[in-house]
């Protein structure tokens, strides 16, 4: 079997829409184009019916009631709505929020904005495995704490946080619990009641649906979560999110959720096998490679590896027919390497040497073998021209060396 290049192995960034999703969406562009808020004619009724069907499909995937799903433009908006909405609504009760250093920027930057407005935020550290400490979480909670927001699975290292335990602590202390579940929903079992989650952000395009549509799960009972809207207007979505609903996107989102619910069990087993195959091959072909974050508590389709003594961007250049991403600063606009990897205490040099592999619905064994073989070649070649590899082989301890860093 010949493989088609370039190979896509960046499923954490986004996923292609499943053809079944696209098929479900198509009639809603032209035939059933109505505004779901139009109450007086069949065009509106059809659109509303489609939206309610999707709402149910998404609720079913996460064990929620359809009424608890609020549609948004994507998970960034969902995160903003959850945090800012709680912060404003519960201001009288307190001004303290607890989150974690490895959260997505949609959480971190939202919290930073609130800090400017007089809120206090605790950023819990993570251990080397990428997980927070439950004792540190408990110790951080005070009578002013109104929200805990901890992601379910990390977008870079795929590490899964102890969500059920966090949910139990939040419940016991009477603090609301939000989780950015973007990377987890549709990939691993996620049930809002088992996990005692009060709010959860989800995104369609991470689960083979279209871009530009997401949702926030907002619990209605035990407790009933109230949110101040951050977008004002026609009072759509029970007043929590105004704006005409993206009906086609929502229909696609619903279909994507339905497919994930049906196929997740078999798909995750298949992807875990592929991921382990990739990992085994790389470990057989190369020395001094390190998995970033917990292996045990990890999404089945994620692998994040640091290839010591080799810089990430030069690695990507050598595998330019493979789409993956690197934690190296050189690949992005910022000058700092990945803050997630730095938080693990890996050291900046290993952060610069990392690659994130994200497998997905259309990943094949042939692709995995191709990528592994190519990487082994490139890493070997780059190590031959790496002064760090040479020094390490001479027995020099790189961490104690004096580096000339001024001006860089």
């Amino acid at each position: 079997m010949t493989i088609k290049l370039p190979i896509y192995m960046d499923y954490h960034a986004t996923t292609p829409a499943d053809p079944r999703v696209v098929e479900a969406m198509l009639p809603y562009f032209t035939q059933h184009f109505g505004n779901a808020a139009s109450r007086n004619h069949p065009f509106g009724w059809e659109a509303e019916e489609a939206v309610e069907k999707a709402r149910k499909q998404i609720a079913d995937l996460i064990g929620a009631n359809a009424k608890e799903i609020v549609f948004t433009s994507g998970a960034t908006e969902s995160d903003n709505l959850a945090i800012k909405g709680v912060a404003e609504m519960y201001r009288e009760k307190g001004n303290h929020i607890i989150t974690c250093v490895t959260e997505h920027k949609a959480i971190i930057d939202t919290c930073k904005r609130l800090e400017k407005n007089g809120y206090r935020v605790t950023y819990l550290p993570v251990a080397k495995d990428g997980r927070i400490s439950l004792d540190e979480l408990k110790a951080a909670i005070s009578d002013k704490t109104i929200l805990i927001t901890i992601m379910t699975a990390n977008n870079e290292i795929g590490v899964i946080q102890p969500i059920a335990e966090i949910g139990a602590i939040a419940k016991e202390k009477g603090v609301l619990f939000h989780t950015d579940a973007v990377q987890a929903v549709g990939k691993i079992p996620f049930n809002v009641n088992d996990l005692k989650v009060d709010m959860a952000s989800i995104s369609a395009h991470k689960m083979y649906g279209p871009k530009g549509v997401g949702a926030l799960y907002v619990r209605r009972r035990n407790p009933r979560v109230l949110l101040s809207a951050i977008i004002d207007g026609g009072g759509h979505e029970r007043g929590m999110r105004s704006g005409t609903l993206n009906v086609t996107g929502i229909v696609g989102f619903g279909k994507a959720a339905e497919i994930c619910k049906q196929e997740m069990a078999t798909e995750s087993v298949r992807l875990r096998k592929l991921r382990d195959r990739l990992n085994d091959r790389l470990h057989k072909g190369l020395d001094e490679i390190y998995i970033n974050g917990s292996v045990e508590h990890r999404l089945p389709h994620n692998l994040n590896i640091s290839f010591a003594y080799v810089e990430g961007e030069s690695l990507l250049m050598g595998i330019n027919d493979v789409a993956v991403s690197s934690g190296s600063a050189c690949t992005s606009a910022s000058l700092e390497p990945s803050y997630v990897l730095k938080a693990l205490g890996a050291g900046d040099d290993l952060a610069h040497s990392s690659i994130r592999f994200g497998l997905g619905r259309w990943s094949t064994e042939e692709e995995v073998d191709y990528v592994a073989d190519k990487l082994i070649n490139v890493v070997t070649r780059l190590r031959e021209m790496s002064p760090l590899y040479e020094l390490a082989k001479e027995g020099v301890d790189l961490s104690t060396m004096q580096w000339q860093t001024e001006g860089h």
């Binding site: 080799v310 961007e313 030069s314 050598g318 690949t331 610069h352 021209m385 040479e390 860089h408």
Partner: protein
């Protein structure tokens, strides 16, 4: 990020990768940058004591494609130049030869630093050993 053809060529076919003996009094070694910044360059020159001309140059680089290309190009340019001519190589020459974008200018700066560090190391070694070669270059008293 789009790379210029010259950067890609140096990345795929780097010139003069390797190491010269650090113990050789005619070899100057420069090691600049830091792993936590994402680039480290080692550049070495071997100077002919009789003529003061750089006979050989080698490099090893940990860094992005532009850093590898900058140091590879530097070794190409160094060969055949006198020590003083080598010191005249400017990072801007490297930027224009490789068409480096603004975010990659630091790679060329690092290459210039590596050249200067290698030559300064060579000069230090020569001064320490008081090599006759250095004196021979001076007019006899």
């Amino acid at each position: 990020m789009a790379y210029s053809n010259k950067v890609i060529d140096h990345y795929e076919n780097p010139r003069n990768v390797g190491s010269l003996s650090k113990e050789d009094p005619n070899v100057g070694t420069g090691l600049v940058g830091a792993p936590e910044c994402g680039d480290v360059m080692k550049l070495q020159v071997k100077v002919n004591p009789a003529t003061g001309v750089i006979d050989d140059a080698k490099f090893k680089t940990f860094g992005c494609g532009s850093a590898i290309a900058s140091s590879s190009l530097a070794t190409e340019w160094l060969k055949g130049k006198t020590v003083d001519e080598a010191l005249a190589i400017k990072n801007t020459d490297i930027v224009s030869e490789l068409s480096l974008p603004p975010v990659k200018i630091h790679c060329s700066v690092l290459a210039e630093d590596a050249i200067k560090a290698a030559i300064s190391d060579y000069k230090k070694k020569q001064a320490a050993t008081g090599k006759p070669a250095e004196k021979a270059a001076q007019p006899t008293a």
